[in-house]
Symmetry: D2
Subunit: 357 residues, 4 copies
């Protein structure tokens, strides 16, 4: 079974390659009666567009989303919503040099050996362009969350080893790195420029969180809320690690320091990151995601060709210095998808309330 569908109740299937005619997503399971127009989606789409941040490629695309189905007279009908974004500005010619070489850190070699064929133009499905479908679907999921009172957001906690020391949410939109610490953002800018001169790239850490989450979301034992979040985040191309709440730091605490005491007024701390035994506790969901540096760099690297002979490769062209901060909105989209899915799944647990009345 192939793996291009995410979610069980709010199901999203993304399709499309970087250099094909279009990319998009089909959502099956969106409840009826939700007002939805293309503008609702475009707002989120614009945040992941190339050229929208300091660390990104100058490649320009309009990325206009088209709703092909599932909406009638301005509201969802409960039927599949197909979202499409046409590809533009694809200069396949510039990829001809890498047709016969495996780029280190990329999926070229694993795709070729898995499938026996490979769309070498822009990486096919392994391209970050696949996330267009995720973000578009995530925007629709966000409309469901809004009804429930859930708000998801992401920011850059760390970039190129520069870590935010303050978490001032008001300044996130005031710097090109979506960083909650203006002083850190300035250091990030310096670090990005250094690395850009080297033709190299950077990784970092994104923090994603959700407020207003009702208690009871998540399905034991395998589809725990945190398990599905971990999958959602790790399914984003550049992600190498995921932690919830205290995360890896929890491994160094004792039970008495890690447990969140429960007061009459609520939990005293949030080491759990909003989930207990895989079910939301009503606290904020707090997730941190490790993003590796972009593998396409303008630096000579050792590799082999399709026949296994050694070669040197230097990937020029239009590439980002870091997936951050463009990936932040993808992380938000994925958390939207997970939470919308569990909101709908929780309806099953409470189904008899709907029918007994």
């Amino acid at each position: 079974m192939a793996g291009n569908t995410f979610g069980t109740a709010f199901r999203v299937t993304t399709w499309g390659e970087s250099h094909g005619p279009a990319v998009g997503a089909v959502i099956d399971g969106c409840p009826p009666g939700i007002p939805l127009c293309e503008e609702d989606i475009q707002i989120m789409m614009d945040r992941r567009k190339p050229g929208s941040s300091a660390a990104s490629t100058p490649r320009k695309e309009e990325d206009i989303v088209h709703i092909l189905s599932g909406v009638f007279e301005g509201q969802t009908t409960g039927t599949p919503i197909c979202l499409m974004v046409k590809n533009k500005d694809a200069k396949s010619a510039s990829y001809s040099t890498i047709k016969n070489l495996y780029r280190p850190g990329h999926g070229d070699i694993s795709y070729q050996k898995k499938y026996g064929v490979r769309d070498y133009k822009g990486g096919g499905r392994a391209s970050a362009r696949e996330t267009v479908g995720r973000v578009a679907a995530g925007a629709v999921a966000g409309l469901i969350l809004k009804r429930v009172g859930i708000q998801v957001s992401a920011f850059t906690l760390e970039l190129g080893s520069v870590r935010a020391k303050k978490l001032d949410m008001d300044v996130i939109s005031q710097n090109p790195f979506a960083c909650p610490d203006m002083a850190a953002a300035e250091k990030m800018a310096v670090r990005v420029e250094e690395v850009r001169k080297d033709g190299d790239s950077l990784g970092g850490i994104v923090q994603v969180q959700a407020t207003g989450v009702p208690v009871g979301l998540g399905e034991p034992v395998f589809d725990k809320l945190d398990a599905d979040i971990a999958k959602a985040m790790m399914s984003i191309g550049a992600v190498k690690g995921v932690e919830i709440g205290a995360g890896f730091e929890a491994a160094r605490l004792t039970g008495s320091t890690n447990n969140d005491p429960i007061l009459e007024s609520g939990f005293e701390s949030n080491n759990a990151g909003g989930t207990l035994a895989g079910i939301s506790s009503g606290q904020d969901i707090v997730v941190r995601v490790a993003v590796k540096p972009i593998p396409s760099i303008n630096v000579p690297q050792q590799t082999v060709d399709l026949e296994g002979k050694p070669e040197t490769i230097q990937v020029g062209g239009r590439h980002d210095i870091s997936a951050i901060p463009r990936v932040n909105v993808v992380c938000e989209a994925m958390l939207n998808l997970v939470l919308a899915d569990f909101v709908l799944r929780q309806a099953q647990v409470r189904a008899l309330e709907l029918f007994s009345s």
Copy 2:
């Protein structure tokens, strides 16, 4: 939709509560013709048994696994394999004091609010006893992996802030913490005794790895090999973080230092942790898992009762100091399940090879 099934091709559904008649698992999708007897499973089961390690509870259970279906004359038939382990030694009486209190760090409060009812005896499905089914099924998955040449193992990288500095696989079986560094193991023993006196508990980090993995396992874009591994590990009760290869450290590297060069003889390094674009590259799979301290501690903690009134709770009884090292075999079992699933899923990609002959 409830969430007690894991896998899409090799599907495992676990069932059972800590204090009910039995726990177990049903496997659907195991190929036919594999020799299988109860002994094959019992070996792995014995490693997760209470009382089998230095940091565990003295509660004794025999945990004898029974194969109820799916095996005929000593081999699998391709039909569902139901595995059952009867519960014994359950002293429900000892849980009566916590019937009306939410234990901090436990799922009591989230289960109660999600379902409106809660099996307060031993935690129901949130009990570590649920992992009996995972380990039993993981043992069967291991037989498939054996055919393919894959070997999965786990060890304790860190316990109570004591980290292994050497990775000597030969000594793992020579100390009660499954630690690959004897000197570290001795320090762990000291730390465990300190904490035991305090009535407190410890967390740590488990490393799980697989060797002999063929290239091509994993399904883009959502069911990436690393995404399903992240879900598998995070679905284990005590886990708060998962990283693959360089993991969170990759966030601090540059592209030129993080990319694994490809030589004629293979990859020069393994920062990727064995997966490129979500598909196995043929390198070892390397995963690290952050395990929080056991929440049940013999220390007074603040909580509330079912009506929300403040109370103090002190959980006595038979509890482990740390989920490590008993959880190590659970991590192995989960990696077994993920890999067996992807071995079977890869058969679909190559299906026409089987029919063209």
Copy 3:
């Protein structure tokens, strides 16, 4: 992917072979808070027991159902419900003669060639004994339907070419064939005795129906209510045809005679059988199921052995004359499963009602 699970929201996985230690089912997705004890299930189980009808085998089994999980203090908890029935009275010796022969009309040959191995004792999973799990799970589903006001029932419309001409529901329990026409039941008894003397067997038609079905159940476009019913019924071993409402007769009507006029008081007729465009209309669900004659007959038949050499086979032993009426309760169970599944799935469509309050 193997196929031993039915349903998407109310998911049932059956397991077990006729001559193994036990048979059973695991239900995942049953809502919490439903009172459930073994007696609730046993009532329905007793109706499918061997020896309970005029056309059935004298093989005696107690078929006592055990609830192994998912119920706490007398009510469901929302966690998996494992149901087990131990096998008894299996005289495997009596099957040794058919070990090397394919019985005509049975799955011996297709199982052997699909899997390369075959549980020849009693047919393994292809045995009617597999329906124990279906009926047990169907009984639990029935408790959900009861809450919603749905009532499912089945009767024998035709047996051995004798068709009921009256549909008097009151007499169904008054004859051993579950026939709503006492005169027809008497003719059925004569026909059964004729065929028993010949060592032969009979087929027939079962009608299954549901009353009190709310409008809105069923999911377009593939998981239509009638599509899932068709699958559910055809998945029962002996079934060769399924029709809804006017069924095959609708093929001979015109639009003006087949369409059910809609009056202020409701539909004037029910040629649709309770479903419009795959969604329940609020009318009764009416399904008819064609059941083939039992293939095991005490008459010499031509066949081949495992090597393909011609042989004559005569299957003696304890076999039913007809799957009817024992299969009737299996049909009910399957309709229960379909309807309970769609009740829970409809909760997703209406999910926002639950969260907006």
Copy 4:
């Protein structure tokens, strides 16, 4: 969970409404390396086009299929294949009169009550136009079957109570009803003209069959080959009954006349319709499908409006007299989808053959 996806290994999700911008399908799970171009699909698409048969509507559409993804340099890549057909010629104005009335025999009333909203223009997802996606995907499935040696075809067995008495496959393409009996086809023409004058419509029976089917396809116990076929066929809008092999007639046979004797040279008859215990036996798959008359008729009918007040409705406009023979290719497409799915699923059963070498 919504229900717009069919198949587990070869998964097809259809999307789109009759009067929206486009309709289409996404296929996930198509193996890589299969040559595929738009022409391969268009051939099958042209057979379901409006205006292509004697009993169909004069509405003209070009129905040109576009491949948006999943194909690279002329062959499949193993990634999702998105197929799109733009809608044209939609005169929504002509539907304004039925905006407030429920058409008898249509899903208007059940959709409205299920979702609370309804795309009244052309029936939304309940329109026969939804089958565009099925046929497009079915054409791709057909390419997989071709590799395996399977050939699927359908013909009109009965139309307006006129039944084919000869099954001469050579004449199917020589008459506008796809009937294998020229004399019957002539009678069908007469019957169609009679009914057209009355403004009424006709039903009939389609026979679908597959030759060259390898033994071993189908997954016990719920996903039996015949169970999935029954679901596939019943999920087509107009279908009210499905039978396999002898079907309802089997209910009137005895075991000795219904069982297909097994000779050294193969089966002597095919009452089973190609499936034993839900697994293909190597014989031809034979399925018959009851198609109800088109509910949209130019005859006054009783109905109610959205408020439940009685009204008379007469549906003019461009409508077919019968779904037959346009639905025949939809039946073929659905059988293609079922068989391709089981071919891929059988690869899992045999997976270890691929990895042991």
